[in-house]
């Protein structure tokens, strides 16, 4: 059942169309991330759900009630900000209890809920501390507890981990996800970090220039990008122009080499130009005599990335990357060596645009 619905949402700032024709249905308890580069409209969309921006067109519906024109303080929506936004004049406990105080809940109820929230974020002993006495990670956990204390219908998180260092970011995102699962709350998460979105979400909405490019599970977004933008934005991807040789047999040609794809090409004709995409980890060195999808290449560079070794290859005029897992006994070619690489037909994606 749809819990949050965004229908035909448009937002215009003067001449600039920040968000256009945005449609999304979010299920109860779902964790959805808005992913995209700066200026793609993801935060604007989130702010329209929070009520800080009013859509130029379209509707925001929460639990079958239209809230498009409701003031932010009239919506039961919790929000976590990138800059934490804890009230500096209040202690951690006062920050967490602020929303309940506004809603005139009893002192006993506030005290009990604050204790629950402090336990949830593992900061039981920090209730009397002030925000300036906490680390960035602790402050953001308090901000999360404060947003959850009011039992909001939806939790909105606007790049909540961007101001934190890498290690804390990873641990806190796991914590956020665990808390969201435990409470079963619907969450909308804005990020420009694809790894964060892939690791935390039930579904990802990839946005570009105010429009939805693709909506899907992290698995779908990564493995089956539908547009060139999604393919390039999410993960590293080799893209190249190819010519359709035989649409029925799904044969393509790139720099004179024939490639077989698993993609349906009913709408293509022989001679059509298409963009193909292959993930670096889908390539392997040819181990034995193979005939299909074999590409001659020259090793251009080798980069050690820890768990992965990235090999840069020259294939005709195209520069491709190939990733292989690192192991201490890995035999790598030398720069300048000639080699042959291959990939499965399922690895050759044909992009829509």
């Amino acid at each position: 059942m749809t819990h949050l619905a965004l229908t035909n949402i448009c937002k215009q700032f003067g001449e600039t169309l920040a968000v256009s024709d945005f449609n999304l249905n979010v299920e109860k308890g779902e964790f959805v991330s808005f992913l995209g580069p700066s200026g793609c409209g993801k935060t604007t969309t989130l702010r329209m759900i929070a009520g800080f921006e009013v859509p130029t067109e379209g509707k925001v519906i929460l639990d079958d009630v239209e809230i498009t024109d409701k003031a932010p303080n009239q919506r039961n929506v919790g929000m976590v900000f990138q800059a934490y936004a804890l009230f500096p004049n209040m202690s951690v406990a006062q920050n967490i209890g602020f929303g309940m105080q506004i809603h005139r809940e009893s002192k006993a109820a506030i005290k009990q809920r604050v204790e629950e929230m402090l336990a949830l974020i593992h900061l039981e002993k920090k209730g009397n501390s002030y925000p300036y006495q906490l680390s960035g990670g602790q402050q953001q956990r308090v901000a999360l507890a404060r947003a959850l204390a009011n039992r909001p219908q939806v939790l909105l998180l606007d790049e909540p981990l961007s101001a934190l260092d890498a290690k804390i970011r990873v641990s806190l995102r796991a914590e956020i996800r665990a808390i969201q699962r435990k409470l079963g709350i619907t969450a909308i998460y804005v990020t420009h970090d694809q790894e964060e979105a892939l690791s935390i979400s039930d579904r990802i909405v990839v946005m570009y220039e105010g429009k939805i490019e693709q909506v899907g599970t992290p698995f779908e977004i990564y493995n089956f990008p539908q547009t060139a933008f999604v393919a390039n934005f999410v993960g590293t991807l080799n893209t190249a122009m190819a010519e359709v040789v035989d649409p029925a047999k799904r044969l393509l040609r790139i720099d004179g080499v024939q490639l077989e794809s698993a993609e349906v090409m009913d709408d293509k004709r022989a001679g059509d130009k298409v963009t193909i995409a292959i993930r670096p980890e889908r390539f392997n060195f040819v181990a034995q005599e193979m005939k299909a999808n074999v590409l001659d290449c020259q090793i251009d560079n080798i980069t050690f990335l820890g768990s992965v070794v990235r090999i840069q290859l020259l294939i005709g005029n195209n520069r491709f990357y190939m990733d292989t897992f690192n192991n201490p006994f890995l035999e790598l070619p030398k720069i300048g060596d000639k080699a042959q690489i291959t990939c499965s037909r399922e690895a050759v994606l044909v992009l829509k645009n």
């Binding site: 303080n73 919506r75 934490y84 804890l86 009230f87």
Partner: protein, 259 residues
């Protein structure tokens, strides 16, 4: 730093101290010589026994406090709104707040008298006009102090965080914004108080009892008491500055979420 450079630094600093403090010290010593040949606080005693001094001083304190209250009520919401929603008007508002530096007080007071001395605005006799005048005169100090305080916090995000928790504008202003800029407000308040305590022209031409007109009158009548009153006036101003520093020192460090 080279030795000669350090010597010159000390030289200019001592020269500055002498320039500022010598007249004060001289005034203070002079104020102690009311009794011939004896160092005493007689001038101060006589001053405090003078009902006109007490009246002028008390009224100035009252005008100062009222000016501060009116200033806070006007300038906190204005500066907050300009920062939050009307950034495009910031330059214009800042220019307006500087006008009291540009327009001489004497011109300002004649403007007030002319405008408000006949119907429909016949309020020239009301202390409200004096308070309004003082509020305008203290505007550069009050507004800028508040604006500086607002600059030190993330006004927009704090406001939105409070709104998302269900707070209305009144709650946001009084429970979130005001407590977080209290040091800035206190600075503005004490500066305004010091301005009002030393202000002569407005009180004189609007014919209201105040400390500065009393001091001017006293100078024409007596010798030692005006010196004592001047020292008291300085002491009061410095006490205000000291309190500003005291509160400023107790301010919490910048936290994440602030600029």
């Amino acid at each position: 730093m080279k030795r000669s450079g350090r010597v010159w630094s000390w030289f200019w600093m001592i020269l500055g101290i002498i320039y500022f403090f010598l007249p004060l010290v001289a005034t203070f010593i002079f104020s102690l010589r009311a009794k011939k040949g004896v160092i005493s606080f007689l001038a101060y005693q006589q001053l405090f026994n003078d009902s006109a001094f007490i009246k002028g001083f008390s009224y100035s304190v009252l005008w100062g406090v009222l000016t501060i209250i009116v200033g806070i009520l006007i300038f906190v919401p204005t500066a907050y709104w300009v920062r939050l929603r009307a950034q495009q008007f910031r330059t214009a508002v800042e220019f307006i707040t500087l006008l009291p530096f540009v327009i001489p007080a004497i011109v300002f007071v004649f403007g007030l008298v002319r405008t408000f001395s006949h119907p429909p605005f016949l309020i020239v006799d009301s202390p409200a006009l004096l308070i309004a005048g003082y509020t305008v005169l203290s505007m550069p100090y009050m507004y800028r102090s508040i604006d500086t305080g607002l600059r030190s916090i993330d006004v927009r995000t704090l406001t939105e965080a409070a709104q998302s928790l269900g707070a209305d504008w009144g709650t946001i202003l009084f429970r979130i914004i005001l407590p977080n800029i209290r040091v800035a407000i206190l600075s503005g308040a004490f500066l305004s108080f010091a301005i009002v305590m030393g202000e002569y022209i407005l009180a004189q031409y609007l014919a209201k009892p105040a400390f500065a007109p009393f001091l001017a009158f006293l100078i024409q009548q007596k010798a030692y008491e005006p010196a004592a009153a001047t020292v008291i006036s300085f002491a009061l101003t410095w006490a205000c500055m000291g309190i500003i520093n005291l509160f400023g020192r107790g301010q919490q460090g910048t936290i994440a979420g602030g600029h």
